[in-house]
Symmetry: C2
DNA sequence: GTCTATAGCTAGATAGAC
DNA sequence: GTCTATCTAGCTATAGAC
């Protein structure tokens, strides 16, 4: 019996969850295959470049997520800045499963992942910073202040994810989300 | 010709630097041996329990660093709180090489490292939080405020290290250190 | 206590059937 | 497009000489 084609989205979600939890070196082809519902050889059919190509695909997937769910939301001049932020934070809260899941950029910004994909990671983070910087200017901050506020928001998301993970509690992350929302109140 | 015994401190520093950069799964015995100046078999002589025992030793080493360089400093009632903080932050700045090096707890709180050493990591972080909480109370904050300030300081150190690493700049980390110092000013 | 040499296994990657 | 079977390299770990 012929197997049905596994969708690109299923595959990317599977790969993403393993790379987030294990990082580049820690993610084995066996785990990646299991998480996608494919066998190893089938994964290589989809990604002839092997683990490197899978990682690149996941980073591209993440970048499109940032553009759609953060950048486009925070720069949407048709809605009030406060509303934009609420929506973007809801998206961020969802993608990190309320603080239970780790950030892909953090997992890949060490070991071999950093050596191979440092540029892609930096680009994704800059997109994130730029999004919050636009929001800052939309609430009347000058350029430098907006940049600093964007960095601070990124730091609080990342740092609180580290703390939440280590403590096994979503409280630090939830708290950070609230704090970010308050910072942009007009 | 007989080889001189390699000191425990040399070994721990070598192991530490590899585990920080590569995480648990990413750290290979060949790299660990090279970083310590020993051959693989000699490392096994020192750590019969293999990589797991090496990791545990590095985490214990880090815990003693936290106790000596953060906890004991921040809780030293013989000096003014402002001075304690300045000294602890100088130690923190040094151990992270001004923001160029990653935190051991972050590197090990993913992949197999988290599964094996989650408890040790949590314990070390709690020691860190407790240290800053004591400082908060020393500058007159109530217990809850002191706890929140400690968490915020930890978050800013960790988050700014993620950002500094990804951007290849020490600026976010230096900025975070300054911000923490300001927060405790009386 | 350190070394060379190697065992045993699992990793990433490939060949070829269906 | 997916699969089973397999290759080779690198991994963790051990044996035994000095």
């Amino acid at each position: 019996m012929r197997m049905a084609k596994v969708s690109d989205l299923e595959i990317l979600n599977g790969l993403m969850s393993v790379f987030r939890a294990k990082g580049y070196d820690g993610a084995s082809l066996n785990e990646l295959a299991e998480a996608t519902g494919l066998k190893k050889a089938s994964l290589y059919h989809r990604f002839p470049g092997g683990k490197k190509e899978m990682t690149a695909a996941v980073l591209d997937f993440m970048e499109s997520w940032v553009i759609n769910k953060v950048y486009n939301v925070l720069s949407d001049a048709k809605i009030a800045p406060t509303e934009r932020l609420r929506e973007a934070l809801a998206n961020i809260n969802a993608v990190y499963n309320e603080g239970r899941e780790v950030c892909l950029y953090r997992s890949l910004s060490m070991d071999t992942g950093m050596a191979l994909f440092g540029e892609k990671i930096e680009k994704g983070i800059n997109q994130w910073l730029e999004s919050f910087s636009i929001l800052g200017k939309a609430v009347g901050k000058d350029k430098d202040t907006a940049t600093q506020m964007a960095k601070q928001s990124f730091i609080e998301v990342q740092g609180s994810l580290v703390l939440s993970k280590a403590m096994g509690s979503t409280e630090p992350f939830q708290n950070a989300i609230q704090q970010i929302e308050n910072r942009y109140k007009t």
